[in-house]
Every structure is written in structure tokens, then in C-alpha cells.
């Protein structure tokens, strides 16, 4: 039995502790925003926050999150109450197929929470683990920069703690 905080709620997982967090979240907790892309920690489509840090969850056994805090794209913001990065994604028309974008946004949110004034080089480094096959990179970068520049008092960590 593994207990952890998921998007602000305490939850319990009773299955195989070796189950990757991604599959527990998708199939057990029915949150489908985090995606399966490679199953090997290579593409970042499954990125969530573990205690505020971006993690690739397709290779992370759920046993590793016992007692910790997990945030998924659903916990970051909703259509009615979007995170500033999600708003920026819409304003920059970032998504094409959209499949990787939950992971991209989660990686970007963790970056800006730790480094609100992230430089272009910081963004390149932090986002290099997330593949976008549609090639939306210039827009992803532009959207992140628009939030990084206009931090607007935004504090992703505080938002997560409050959610």
C-alpha cells in the first residue's frame, strides 16, 4: 500500500509497487493528461512533478513516491483556471498534435518555479528531455519566455501547494 499526495489529495495505491507512476496515474486514478511516449524515460511525454521537480514517470516505480507530492497536468491548471504557462501555450498557438504538450508544460513549470528568470540557455537545457515530433520548439520556447519575462508575481510552487 503506497500513500501519496496527488494534485492536493491524499491517495492510496494498492497494486504492484513496481508499477510505473505513469500507468498508476492513468489507469488507476484515471487522469489521462499525462502521456505514454517511449516507456524508457527518453521523450518526456509522461512528465509530472514529484515534490515540485519534473520527473519522467514512465520509468519511475510508484513505490518511489510514497509519502511524496505528485502533481500532474490536471493539478497544474484547468480550462477554467489555467496556469500562466497554459495561457501562454494558447496565446502562442503552441500545440499541433498536442500529445507531448502536457509533459512540455510540466517540464517548463518546474523550470520556472525554480528559476523564474530562466535564460534561453536555461530553457534549452531544461526542455531538452522533452521531444515534440511536430516540431513546436520555437513556440514552446516563446511561450516559456513570455511567462519568464512577465513573471507577474507568479509562483508555481505556491500554486501547487495550494491545489
Amino acid at each position: 500500500m503506497i500513500t501519496f499526495m496527488l494534485n492536493g489529495h491524499q491517495v492510496v495505491f494498492n497494486g504492484d509497487p513496481q508499477t510505473p507512476l505513469l500507468w498508476a496515474i492513468r489507469d488507476e486514478f484515471k487522469l489521462k493528461g499525462s502521456k505514454f511516449g517511449c516507456g524508457a524515460g527518453l521523450c518526456g511525454a509522461c512528465t509530472m512533478h514529484l515534490d515540485g521537480t519534473a520527473m519522467k514517470t514512465c520509468v519511475l516505480p510508484i513505490a518511489a513516491v510514497a509519502g511524496k507530492t505528485v502533481t500532474t497536468i490536471e493539478g497544474l491548471g484547468t480550462p477554467d483556471s489555467m496556469h500562466p504557462l497554459q495561457q501562454a501555450w494558447v496565446e502562442h498557438n503552441v500545440p499541433q498534435c498536442g500529445y507531448c504538450q502536457s509533459g512540455q508544460i510540466m517540464a517548463a513549470a518546474a523550470l520556472l518555479a525554480a528559476n523564474p528568470d530562466a535564460s534561453e540557455a536555461d530553457i534549452d537545457t531544461a526542455m531538452a528531455g522533452n521531444i515534440c515530433r511536430c516540431g513546436c520548439y520555437p513556440r514552446i520556447k516563446g511561450a516559456i519566455q513570455s511567462v519568464a519575462i512577465n513573471t507577474l508575481g507568479y509562483d508555481a510552487m505556491a500554486e501547487e501547494a495550494a491545489s
Binding site: 511516449g37 500545440p95 499541433q96 498534435c97 507531448c100 531538452a128
Partner: protein
């Protein structure tokens, strides 16, 4: 008993259709569903045609006939129909159309999304539907309000009279009693309110919040999950398998042989995935097992050496043109097999309940999926619904329906709702591929750079026969297997021996005016499944032609842009694109150590020129910036045009720098993103785009950004290093 001997029986082939080029330009009788529209509507709602539903509370639903795989088509076609209906696309609810002949691509006569065709072919029909429906609403409003229609106007889903605004929904009950107007005049372009303007993609919010539904996200009560172990070498059937260890794994429900391999069915995907690793299977021997990548390359060379290709196009006297040339060049260019690697691995979810079947998936061929289900289940077509979801990338991959065959066989065998999900390894190793191609070009130019002779020979596999083989069972659900086999055999023989499959040679000369040209083709097919891959034949022909144009310019000491312009004198649209790109190139400030390369290519009726700014350090090619100039006619959503060019450049750059599928004993070597790398953000160039709007009808945009990129980079690398790279992916000596 855990070891099962499989008999050799005839399994249905998977189904595939089109991903890129124009393939089936004739209507196959009986391949489209012509029953009731697959639309759920209340009695009080207006369904004036297959594309629209307007409810009394003014919900305006547009059933989009093209599949959204990232190219922005839901926004694009909503813009087209919304322009004439007079409703902002963002205020419409856009849903994926079900299967029905009314949604057929008018050019293909099939319900498919491919060939960068959707905006081009639906532009006029959907404007007409929008205009006629608006006229119907106005007629109903005139009757209900007692005001002549001529005194009414519309704005964003409302009928306007004086300062009164009435939602369209107020008039749907009356509208349903009136005859649908036809041939209502459509707007002049000068009156467009939405076409050509900028607004957010209608799927942007859902895709930014994780709420967009992809096929993989479908979750049904009591659903089981299946993974399939397939032969490492394409086409080999299982001879025997041992599932004893598998059946002891947690969550496993059953193990069963299906046409494509051995399916492991479990309570969750993860359990199925883990359990399948315990499965041992013996596969039959097939001819492809004797093939590796060096063999493919040698066979392509030998085929061109034989010099007995089938003529695809020929005009003028090549030898005389060569004799008249001031400068001649000949060279050989190679492009490898490639996988599409969409981010969402293919998947399908099927529920068969009584005499009804519901399929959730994301495919480029909704009608074919329905036909395939009809064939496999024997259910009446009207009882089969295909619920197409957002596609997590397509690029041609999602026109092949192997996963639909698999889910159907498993659902029929287990009697349960089932989801089949491929892993990334499955995707790269058991997919359908862009054919490897070897091209030999020989050309001559006169002193001014005008091409006097042009010859191009291509050897490689064809995509159409393979595609037809896979598609026919779906398109002709009631035709017996034997007849289908005969039909396919005939097609394969024809393309292998007499005729040339157009996608195999497209783009080898058409961009320019080349009065003297000879294009020949030799089919070399090793048995690896092949299909359309973003920009299809242009993905390799553009590389060969645009590299050769550069080689000609360099050898003659001519400016590469001037040389191209010289050969575009009766292609004014492309000439303007090249002219403009040349102006931008001249004005560029190029940092020390950076070099520019130029290429231009016409495909899918669209003209594109690209300039790559490249540096080479320690043998590593770095592309810093790509500048694109495009003319795709009317840009319905200019920002989508930009996005598609950006995406096309990135997709092509991945192929140019890394893309390679290798065979070892017939099996695909690459397995995941560590050995089939995709461009990442820290390698992505800046992109600048200039759209020239010639005001003509819209043409393709999903694919045309791809072909010029690799040659633009290669031409820049030549300037940086003096090395002429004639093989993809680009590797310095």
C-alpha cells in the same frame, strides 16, 4: 498445454491507406458507407447536411471531415465553413465526423486525410455548405420574424435586424421545414471576416490542459488491455509459442494467437506489457530474413546499373540536350528507410455488444476502419461506429490499420471491450516505412544556367501496391479474399514491371521548366512494409534535385538562386517565391563561420524556398536558422501555415541529421528514441517565414515544408566544408 502449434491459415492483411501523396484518384464502388448520417441529434435540432448541427440553444456543431493530427485542420475547415455560415470558428463545437460517404475527400472519393489536400479540396464545398445553411437560417428567420430576408443580416451565429440579435438556434424549428437553398453565392475574398485572420487554434486550450482526448485515453468499464508480440522480421507468422510463464503473471487473462502475432491480454497495459516479456515464440522463415541494409543499398545500385528502368516521363532528346550543354554533372543520391514515430503510439479500443460495435481510435482513414470492422465482424455496417479521436501525430503512419485488425480479433476472441496499445519499440520495429531510395541524376546547362538536359533514375520500393494490398480488405468489405488477392497481385505486377507508381518518382523534375527530361524507375522491393511518409516521394526527390541544382551552379560558377530563376521562367508563382527568398538571402548578415544553403521545391501544389544557416564544428552540423518563403494560395489560417512550415522544417531536420531505419537479418535495428533520435529543443533552429499570398485557391501546407530542408542544409554544408554530402542522413567524412 502451453505450447501451441499454429496452422498456416490465411489471416487478413492489415489495412492501410494514404498518408501523403495522391494515391487513389478514382472512387472504388461500395467502399463508402451511404446509410444514415452518424450524427446524434435531438428532434428539435437542425441537421441541414452532414457537416452541421444547430440546436435550439444555438450550439453550432461542425462535423469535420478531415482528421486532426496536429495540422490544424479542425480550425482550418471550421474557418472555411464558419466564414460563409457567419459564425466565428471559436464559437463552433468541432467534432470528428463519423464514417459516411458525405465526408469523402472529394478528390480521392474516399474518407481519408492525406496528401496535404484537406483545405484545398474542401475549400469550395464547405464554403457552399456554409452559405446555403446561412441562407436557410435567414429564410426561416424571415418567416418567423415577418421581415423580408433581404432586410436581415447576420453576425457570428446571430440574425440581425436593427439592433436586435437573434441566435440562429431560434429559427431551427422553422428551418427544418424549409427546402435547403442551393448554389447560394459565396463571399468575395474582400469580405472575409475569419479567413486570413489570426485567432487561437480551437484545440489549443484542450491540448494545453491535458483535456484533449486521444485514442489512448479511452477508458471503458471492464476494459482489458492487450499487447501483441510480433515477428522481428515483417511478414513472418508464428509457428509455435510457449505461454506457460506468461499465464502465471499477475493480471493476465489470456494469451491468444492473432494474425499479426501473439496477443497477451491483461487487466492493465503495464501487466500485459510485463507479462509479454515471458513469451517465447518461434517464427517462420521469410525471404526478408536474408536482407540487411548493405544488401538493400547494393541491390538498389545493381538495379540502376542494369539501366532498364520503366519510363515515367520523357520529353525531348536527352543526348542532344547533353551535347548542347556548356556544363554537365552526374551524381548519385541516397535516402534510407524511415519511420514516422508519432508521439502517440498507435492504439485502438473496441467494444462489441450484441450486434453493435464501437471503435475508438485515431486514424487517417475513418471509412476504411469501418469497412474493416464490417469485414472482420460480419456486423451490418450501420451498426458499426468509428469514434475518431485526436491523433497524436500522423505523418502518414495512421493510414495503416494493423492495430484495428488486432483489436477486432482480440475483442471477438475474448468477448470483452479491449484496448490494443503498441509500445515505442513496436512502433519503430513493426511499422510501415518510407522506402529507401537511390537516385542517379545527370544534367546539363547552357552558359546562362538553363537546363538543356535532365535525367533522373530512381530505384526502390513503391508505396501504392503495398498500400492497396492493405487497404482493399477495408475498402471492399464484401469482396472475398481470393478475389482481393488476385486484384492486389495484378496491381503489384503492373507497378513492378510496366507502369511507374507516381509517388516513387514525384518531384524528380516538375519544379522547373525542363523541356528535355527523362525519368525512369526500377522497382526494388525487399518485403519491408512501405507507406506514405510526410511529403512521400518529394522527401527524397527534393534532396536529389536540389542538391544537383546546387552542384550545377557551383560547377558553372553561377549563383544558385539565379540558376533556379533561369529555369522558372514559365512558373511565375515559384519564380516569385525563389526571387523573394533570394532577396532575403542576399540581405542576411551571416556570422563568422556560418554558411548559407538554398533550396526550393514545389509539392502538393505549393511552392516553398528555404535558406539554411549552418555551421560545422568538429564534424558536427548545426543548423542555426531556417528562412522559408511560401506561396500556398489563400492562407486560411496564416498562423497554421507558419506552424506547419515550422513543423515541416523540424521534421525534415530530424531526418536530415539522424533519420535512419536499418535492417539486420531483415529485422529493424532501431527500437526507441536513443537510437532513432528526434530533434530536441537545444538543437532546433530559429525559423522565419514569409507568406506570399497570390490570392489563388488554397493549396497544401502540411508537407511542402519538408522537401527543401535537407538539400538546403547539405548545400550549406558544402559551402562550410567543401564536402558534397549525397546521402541521408548527412554525415561528414
Amino acid at each position: 498445454m502451453s505450447t501451441q502449434i499454429l496452422s498456416r491459415r490465411h489471416f487478413l492483411k492489415s489495412s492501410a491507406l494514404v498518408g501523403g501523396g495522391v494515391v487513389v484518384a478514382v472512387t472504388l464502388p461500395g467502399c463508402s458507407f451511404d446509410g444514415e448520417l452518424p450524427i446524434d441529434a435531438a428532434d428539435t435540432a437542425l441537421v441541414p447536411n452532414a457537416f452541421l448541427q444547430i440546436t435550439p440553444d444555438n450550439k453550432i456543431i461542425f462535423y469535420c471531415p478531415a482528421d486532426e493530427m496536429g495540422q490544424g485542420i479542425r480550425t482550418g475547415l471550421a474557418t472555411v465553413i464558419g466564414e460563409e455560415l457567419d459564425c466565428h470558428p471559436s464559437n463552433m463545437t468541432v467534432e470528428a465526423a463519423g464514417s459516411h460517404e458525405d465526408y469523402n475527400n472529394p478528390e480521392f472519393g474516399l474518407q481519408l486525410t492525406g496528401g496535404s489536400s484537406a483545405v484545398r479540396v474542401f475549400y469550395e464545398p464547405l464554403r457552399q455548405v456554409g452559405a446555403d445553411t446561412r441562407a436557410l437560417i435567414l429564410a426561416a428567420a424571415a418567416r418567423d420574424l415577418g421581415i423580408p430576408a433581404a432586410q436581415l443580416s447576420t453576425d457570428n451565429g446571430h440574425v440581425i435586424t436593427g439592433d436586435q440579435r437573434y441566435p440562429y438556434g431560434d429559427f431551427v424549428v422553422t428551418a427544418a421545414t424549409l427546402e435547403m437553398p442551393t448554389e447560394t453565392p459565396v463571399k468575395d475574398a474582400s469580405a472575409f471576416k475569419y479567413i486570413g485572420t489570426h485567432f487561437a487554434r480551437i484545440d489549443a486550450e484542450a491540448k494545453a490542459t491535458g483535456t484533449a482526448n486521444f485514442g489512448i485515453d479511452v477508458d471503458l468499464p471492464d476494459m482489458v488491455y492487450a499487447v501483441v508480440l510480433r515477428s522481428p522480421v515483417a511478414g513472418a507468422k508464428a509457428v509455435r509459442f510457449d505461454d506457460e510463464a506468461v499465464r502465471r503473471q499477475p493480471g493476465v487473462q489470456t494469451v491468444l494467437p492473432i494474425s499479426s502475432g501473439i496477443a497477451v491480454v491483461a487487466d492493465s497495459y503495464w501487466q500485459a506489457n510485463q507479462a509479454a516479456k515471458k513469451l517465447t515464440v518461434e517464427w517462420e522463415d521469410v525471404a526478408l530474413m536474408a536482407v540487411d541494409s548493405t544488401q538493400v543499398r547494393a541491390d538498389l545500385s545493381a538495379a540502376l546499373d542494369a539501366d532498364d528502368g520503366v519510363e515515367a516521363a520523357s520529353e525531348g532528346d536527352f543526348e542532344a540536350g547533353l551535347a548542347a550543354a556548356a556544363n554537365t554533372q552526374s551524381a548519385e543520391y541516397f535516402a534510407p528507410f524511415l519511420a514516422h514515430a508519432p508521439m502517440e503510439p498507435v492504439n485502438a479500443t473496441l467494444r462489441i455488444e450484441g450486434d453493435r460495435a464501437d471503435l475508438w481510435t485515431g486514424v487517417q482513414v475513418v471509412g476504411a476502419a469501418q469497412g474493416l470492422l464490417e469485414r472482420l465482424t460480419g456486423l451490418p455496417r450501420e451498426n458499426i461506429r468509428v469514434h475518431n479521436q485526436y491523433l497524436g501525430g500522423g505523418f502518414g503512419r495512421r493510414a495503416t490499420l494493423t492495430h484495428v485488425v488486432e483489436v477486432t480479433e482480440i475483442a471477438m476472441a475474448t468477448g470483452k471491450p479491449v484496448q490494443v496499445l503498441w509500445s515505442r519499440e513496436d512502433d519503430l520495429r513493426h511499422g510501415v516505412y518510407r522506402p529507401a531510395s537511390l537516385m542517379r541524376l545527370e544534367a546539363g546547362i547552357d552558359a546562362n544556367g538553363k537546363v538543356t538536359a535532365w535525367q533522373a533514375q530512381r530505384a526502390g520500393g513503391n508505396v501504392t501496391p503495398e498500400t492497396l494490398e492493405n487497404a482493399l480488405p477495408a475498402l471492399l468489405p464484401s469482396m472475398p479474399d481470393g478475389l482481393l488477392g488476385g486484384l492486389h497481385g495484378a496491381v503489384e505486377f503492373i507497378f513492378g514491371n510496366w507502369a511507374v507508381d507516381h509517388p516513387s518518382v514525384e518531384g524528380l523534375y516538375e519544379t522547373y521548366s525542363m523541356p528535355t527530361h527523362t525519368i525512369t524507375h526500377t522497382t526494388v522491393d525487399h518485403g519491408l512494409p512501405l507507406t506514405f511518409w510526410r511529403s512521400v516521394g518529394h522527401s527524397y526527390s527534393g534532396f536529389a534535385v536540389e542538391s544537383m541544382m546546387d552542384e550545377l551552379a557551383v560547377s558553372a560558377g553561377l549563383d544558385p538562386v539565379a540558376l533556379r530563376l533561369k529555369n522558372l521562367e514559365d512558373k511565375p508563382r515559384m519564380q516569385r517565391v525563389v526571387q523573394r527568398a533570394g532577396e532575403l538571402m542576399v540581405a542576411m548578415e551571416v556570422p563568422e563561420g556560418h554558411h548559407l544553403g538554398f533550396a526550393s521545391h514545389s509539392s502538393f501544389f505549393t511552392d516553398v524556398a528555404e535558406i539554411a544557416e549552418v555551421s560545422v564544428t568538429d564534424g558536427k552540423i548545426r543548423v542555426h536558422k531556417v528562412t522559408c518563403v511560401v506561396d500556398c494560395g489563400t492562407a486560411v489560417n496564416p498562423d497554421t501555415v507558419r506552424a506547419q512550415l515550422e513543423g515541416g522544417v523540424m521534421f525534415a531536420l530530424t531526418a536530415a541529421l539522424y533519420g535512419e531505419i536499418d535492417l539486420d537479418k531483415g529485422a529493424v535495428v532501431q527500437s526507441n528514441f536513443h537510437d532513432y533520435p528526434i530533434l530536441r529543443m537545444d538543437e532546433a533552429p530559429a525559423i522565419e517565414i514569409e507568406i506570399i499570398d497570390s490570392g489563388t485557391a488554397p493549396t497544401g501546407i502540411g508537407e511542402p515544408g519538408v522537401p527543401p530542408l535537407a538539400p538546403a542544409v547539405a548545400n550549406a554544408v558544402f559551402r562550410a566544408t567543401g564536402q558534397r554530402l549525397r546521402e541521408l542522413p548527412l554525415r561528414l567524412a
